[in-house]
Symmetry: C2
Subunit: 432 residues, 2 copies
């Protein structure tokens, strides 16, 4: 063989938690396979983690150690800085900036970092001729960044949707299957280790919102605008809502939706009803799903594990192997300097709404509610009154298409009727 | 701007049927989007089709015409030869060979060509430093070649499955929803234009088998071996089987399965039962689904349109845009010279089986059948005898795990019992 062998791609790995150890295992277990598929090897040169003495489930003896990830990022003997520490400020940000400044490509699983600083990092990387890849940051093992950036590149994207926080989907589906209230399942999830240290990142929709903002930037060629994502968590979802929705053929999901409309870019991460027999409705437990809709291709649905050692490491290594193969694309699929500043849509696309409320058992109570809806321009598709619980009657209304504003106006009027017990619940019914 | 602009990628388009016209439309409609995403334009320089005078749904006036696709492939003013003619011999093969010989990259939607001649074409292309891409050849608009070759590149693949012929899935799901026999729905499909000129390509499983053999080569790093695919079409599937399977919680699908086992490479494209509530079981109509199972990622499911102008052109253009972006990979994900010659597994992985037969209404008939199964080493999981139709009793058996050989041996013994009416139906129950 007279071919010159390309030297192995050398990586510095920052973070030796679940994902980092998963990366180590794949590099060690699949050395031959990686070499065959990339035409060169991939080797870990150095690693960093907070505690070098901690017992870890992999042999790290062959790697140099850095206690400071910034020092790791600057090492002259690495080509790619792999960041799987997490956190959108502090060491992760500093080390990523240092890596770019010292001429390294970056592979990251850090959705928070990119949602907050993605534009600046991409601009810096592209000015330096470097690449940032982040397949592992969105929907874990599902190769959705690649599908959107490359596989569907010839499409004007219409809408991107997804269930992208496995913990929330676990909680919602477990509430239904076990008939347990939110608080009980939340506590289960905490004990199972499914929740972030700050649980609001999960159940508040923030983590999933980060992911949506990244997909949105690629899909619509716009600057990441996480601050414009309408965020609503799952903390207010009751077992009653889950059961009543099921009764009508729906499931409740924490659903992300991004679409470009005539009114601007719409980005929402909110609990929504979806048909029980749709792929999104059928999604159980911690599995993730992303739905990509393009003008040429129609609808593509991707489903797979959204977290965990193997799946996330698989995505990190896909990016590393792309770099080993010479695949180099701009962070968001087109040069960051060409990304448009999105105008956030002030009102979301109209939808049917699910309204649940409890009414005092008074003559004309229901008529008063119906009047409020009519005055706010909201028409009723279905209304169900359930058996009385003492003096109060749970009422369920499904509206025809209405805007969020219309619904809010109607709900504001309800207060003046004097027939309402507690606050009504309003959930969007997304057409999927 | 002092940047030098990379000149547009120039394509020659052979074939102006549905897919070819779809490609023309995307190139024309999305010129700006394609330029933004690739950093350069993509332009069609010349086209070829059998009948230049035929009325077509696109403005072709700006393109040079060639009546001979080989002449098109050799034009010095094209960079990429796009082949959407079809057929595994004749013009498609000659023109693809000519394109490679004259230094062009190739993008093709032609699964038959690659299933039969993929290795030779890949070797020739790679020797010449050229690339052959074929996203559109498998599962239409679903970016499955990219997912497998790149997105899951860090995985040792365990199993690849798929429903990859929309016509067969249309027929099977329509039989169930309308309660119609195979022949009636086959005729409907013909009238709707869903069938190939030779319908056996669809209903005989050949087209889907071609696709499976391509996925298999990438997944397992082996030479395409279409001849080793166990092929069985859907022509023998009766409405009775569909209904009885549904009764037990299953759906019948023409399912492709490729897996590497200790006994060699197993490739099957056969009607199978899958659980009704699995993603594969829920797949309706002409939609395709591919399931990819890797050692790190676990299970990834991809779902989308398997055919049609927009979806197929979307996939063709993804490949073209990859080339415009400088993404150049070997045809099967690793150099063709390194692909192993697969040893075909002589026996498929054991599975549970669905057996349907009609027995004469004689005392001991069922016992005789049970004895045959026992003698062949097949144990029974469930048995249902349905209400008598005249003198004959339909019997349904679900076995515990058994090999195809065991089942064949048992069925061969049935003949000697003298209690069987007609031939029994044996369908594999695939664990998905």
């Amino acid at each position: 063989m007279s071919q010159t062998q390309t030297p192995a791609l050398r990586i510095g790995l920052a973070g030796l938690g679940t994902v980092g150890i998963g990366v180590v295992k794949i590099v060690q277990r699949h050395a031959a396979l990686i070499a065959a598929r990339t035409g060169r090897g991939v080797e870990i040169v150095a690693v960093s983690a907070r505690d070098p003495k901690k017992q870890r489930d992999a042999d790290l003896s062959g790697y140099a150690w850095e206690t400071d990830p910034v020092a790791l990022a600057r090492r002259p003997d690495i080509d790619v800085f792999v960041e799987v520490m997490g956190g959108h400020e502090g060491p992760a940000r500093l080390a990523t900036e240092a890596a770019i400044a010292s001429g390294k490509d970056v592979v990251t699983a850090n959705k928070a970092l990119l949602a907050h600083h993605g534009l600046g990092l991409a601009l810096a990387a592209e000015a330096a001729g470097r690449v940032i890849r982040f397949e592992a940051a969105v929907a874990g093992g599902i190769p959705v960044i690649k599908a959107l950036t490359e596989g569907l590149a010839a499409n004007q994207m219409r809408r991107v949707m997804g269930v992208m926080n496995g913990t929330c989907n676990y909680i919602l589906t477990r509430m239904q299957s076990a008939g347990l209230p939110y608080e009980a399942v939340f506590e289960e999830a905490r004990q199972l280790g499914y929740l972030e240290a700050d649980p609001n990142l999960d159940v508040g929709g923030i983590d999933a919102g980060h992911k949506l903002s990244l997909l949105s930037a690629i899909a619509f060629g716009t600057r990441v605008s996480f601050d414009a994502v309408e965020l609503e968590g799952i903390g207010a979802i009751s077992i009653d809502d889950i059961n009543l929705a099921a009764d009508m053929g729906y499931r409740i999901k924490l659903l992300g939706v991004a679409q470009m409309t005539g009114r601007g870019l719409e980005q929402r991460m909110t609990p929504c009803l979806v048909p029980a027999d749709s792929p999104l409705g059928q999604l159980q437990g911690g599995t993730n799903m992303v739905v990509l809709e393009g003008d040429a291709v129609g609808q593509i649905v991707l489903r797979g594990p959204g977290a965990g050692e193997g799946p996330t490491a698989s995505a990190v290594m896909a990016d590393v192997m792309d770099l080993a193969r010479g695949i180099r694309l701009p962070t968001f699929g087109q040069p960051a300097v060409t990304l448009a500043t999105p105008i956030a849509a002030k009102t979301a696309t109209p939808a049917a709404w699910y309204l649940r409320m409890t009414l005092l058992d008074k003559p004309g109570a229901l008529a008063k509610i119906a009047t409020c809806l009519g005055e706010a321009g909201v028409s009723i598709d279905q209304m169900r009154q359930y058996g009385h619980q003492g003096a109060n009657a749970p009422v369920l209304i499904v509206t025809h298409k209405a805007t969020r504003d219309d619904i809010d106006h109607a709900v504001a009027r309800f207060a003046g009727t004097g027939v309402l017990v507690g606050a009504p619940v309003a959930l969007r019914i997304e057409e999927v």
